[in-house]
């Protein structure tokens, strides 16, 4: 397998070629740097030199306002946004898998559950999340039923879980259906039950396959926790809006945006990495 070691030295022509390539890559690097400086520099200069810049900067990037609002905003952000999606996501995944697997069953006994699963995904993907949150936060407590929590945080999380569960169910379903039929046939021929095949063969592969859209939905969820403000949850964004409305300054909103980015950007980089690794493994069967 290994090449034999011999006493080959590059010919003059090869040395020449290498020199040309080195020159070209140096030139490319220079061009790239200049382009980056011009474009980014141009944008920054355009921004700073625009006539309204001082007002906009005072309105959106004011340090004293940032300091004054920081405590309320970060408290709201950690207490509701971060806690919210950390609690909601496992439930969303669980519901997503359950609904997707249910839709794939074929036995007669499962028929009513299958219908329920279809109705659930259709309804909760069709309704705007905002609407569902309002229904759960306002209408449900209004019915004065026993056992409904008064605390709108839990009501709002339930709404989010139901809405995102429907999306995630469809993502899982796509993943499950993308598994090559020979995989399932192999599981069948080995004598595995449907349930065992789903658990040991289909779901692990389907999940790896749909990691990118799943993580995408997760990131979307992180931002949608801000919708809880509609039902009196004083999350990071609402706290920022409140300060902005009171002091007539938008800086806290810029700050909350930065906080969301701190959360989502590492997650998107992670998504890309996981996706690449998963797809490398998946293409094994094509040899």
């Amino acid at each position: 397998m290994s090449t034999p070691v011999d006493d080959w030295v590059p010919s003059a022509r090869e040395v020449e070629r290498r020199g040309l390539r080195r020159e070209r890559s140096r030139r490319d690097l220079a061009v790239a740097t200049v382009a980056a400086v011009v474009v980014i520099g141009g944008l920054v200069v355009g921004l700073v030199l625009s006539p309204g810049w001082p007002t906009v900067r005072a309105s959106f990037l004011s340090w004293p306002d940032a300091k004054a609002s920081f405590h309320a905003v970060i408290t709201g952000f950690l207490k509701y946004n971060v806690t919210g999606f950390l609690i909601a996501e496992p439930f969303i995944l669980a519901i997503g898998v359950l609904v997707a697997v249910t839709r794939g069953t074929v036995s007669a006994a499962m028929f009513p559950l299958r219908v329920l699963a279809i109705v659930y995904t259709d309804v909760f993907r069709g309704l705007p999340t905002y609407l569902v949150i309002i229904l759960f936060g306002f209408a449900l407590p209004g019915l004065q039923l026993q056992g409904v929590p008064k605390n709108t945080f839990w009501l709002g999380l339930v709404a989010l879980v139901l809405c995102y569960g429907a999306y995630v169910a469809e993502v899982f379903r796509a993943g499950i259906e993308s598994i090559h039929p020979s995989q399932i046939a192999s599981a069948d021929t080995l004598g595995l039950t449907r349930g065992q095949a789903m658990r040991h063969v289909v779901l692990p592969q389907a999940t790896r396959r749909v990691m990118p859209p799943l993580l995408n939905d997760f990131i979307s969820l992180q931002k949608d926790t801000a919708l809880l403000g509609t039902i009196f949850i004083f999350d990071g964004l609402f706290a920022a809006q409140d300060y902005a409305a009171y002091a007539f300054n938008y800086t806290p909103i810029t700050m909350v945006g930065a906080m969301f980015l701190c959360l989502t950007v590492p997650l998107t980089r992670f998504t890309d990495w996981v996706g690449r690794r998963a797809m490398r493994r998946q293409f094994a069967g094509s040899r």
Binding site: S186, T189, L190, L192, Q196, H200, R281, Q282, A284, R287
Partner: protein
């Protein structure tokens, strides 16, 4: 008749209007190696899938180990766990190591304890030259190694009958040989097999019986020497001429 391992009578299978198999009769005794040959679309794969109960048949009877398995009341899983099948591609589960692939069914279906299942798997893998692949994932192996591993996986459940559906058809030519070597060894060990294949010289070497399928019927069946050197039917002759060149 009753000590045949597998007995197929009058099997018929159609997809909608299209009749894919018709009037198939086949008897498989223990230690037989039956090779199914024929053009693409002649029904070889479908026949194997019907035998493995992956498909329902439209008519006929299949008897396996003395009882009818084409009865709707039969537990298919139980039947399948006594047969092994290997497909053209996408056999192995890519998210598990080769060893895990091989021990999954013994542990989950047959209740074999983990240590025992792993020991047997490693033993078989070693026998067929895959000892150092045991802890790798399929994506790190060549196509030939993957198909060999798929064979080992089928053997780990100790099946009475092995069904092989053109397992070398998707491989690069230089990898075909290593897979066929295993099949030959299995045949020499006395494993009962039915295989659909395009590898004519191989079929001639190892088969105890060759079936030529044409448009859903077994046009001709007999010992390899007869079929390959002296076919009765014109269509068989034409097919062999095309394939053997």
């Amino acid at each position: 008749m009753s000590d045949a391992l597998l007995e197929v009578t009058g099997l018929r299978k159609s997809y909608g209007d299209k009749v894919v198999l018709s009037g198939i009769d086949l008897t498989v005794a223990p230690h037989d190696v039956i090779c199914l040959i024929g053009a693409s679309g002649s029904g070889k794969s479908t026949l194997l899938r019907c035998l493995n109960l992956l498909e329902d048949i439209d008519d006929g009877v299949i008897e396996f180990e003395g009882s009818e398995i084409s009865d709707p009341r039969v537990d298919r899983r139980a039947v399948r766990s006594r047969m092994g099948m290997v497909f053209q591609a996408y056999n192995l589960f890519p998210h598990r190591t080769v060893l895990d692939n091989c021990t999954l069914a013994p542990r989950r279906v047959h209740g074999v304890p983990k240590a025992e299942a792993e020991a047997r798997a490693r033993d078989l893998l070693g026998q067929f030259g895959l000892a150092d692949q045991a802890d790798k994932h399929p994506d790190r192996m060549s196509g030939g190694q993957q198909q060999r591993a798929a064979l080992v996986r089928a053997l780990c459940t100790r099946p009475t009958l092995l069904l092989l559906d053109e397992i070398t058809a998707a491989l690069d030519p230089e990898l075909v040989g290593e897979v066929l070597t295993i099949v030959r060894e299995l045949a020499e060990q006395g494993t009962t097999m039915i295989l659909a294949t395009h590898e004519m010289s191989f079929a001639r070497d190892i088969a105890t019986s060759v079936c030529f399928l044409d448009q859903g019927r077994i046009l001709e069946q007999g010992r390899p020497a007869e079929i390959f050197s002296n076919p009765r039917e014109e269509r068989t002759r034409q097919f062999l001429a095309r394939v053997l060149g």
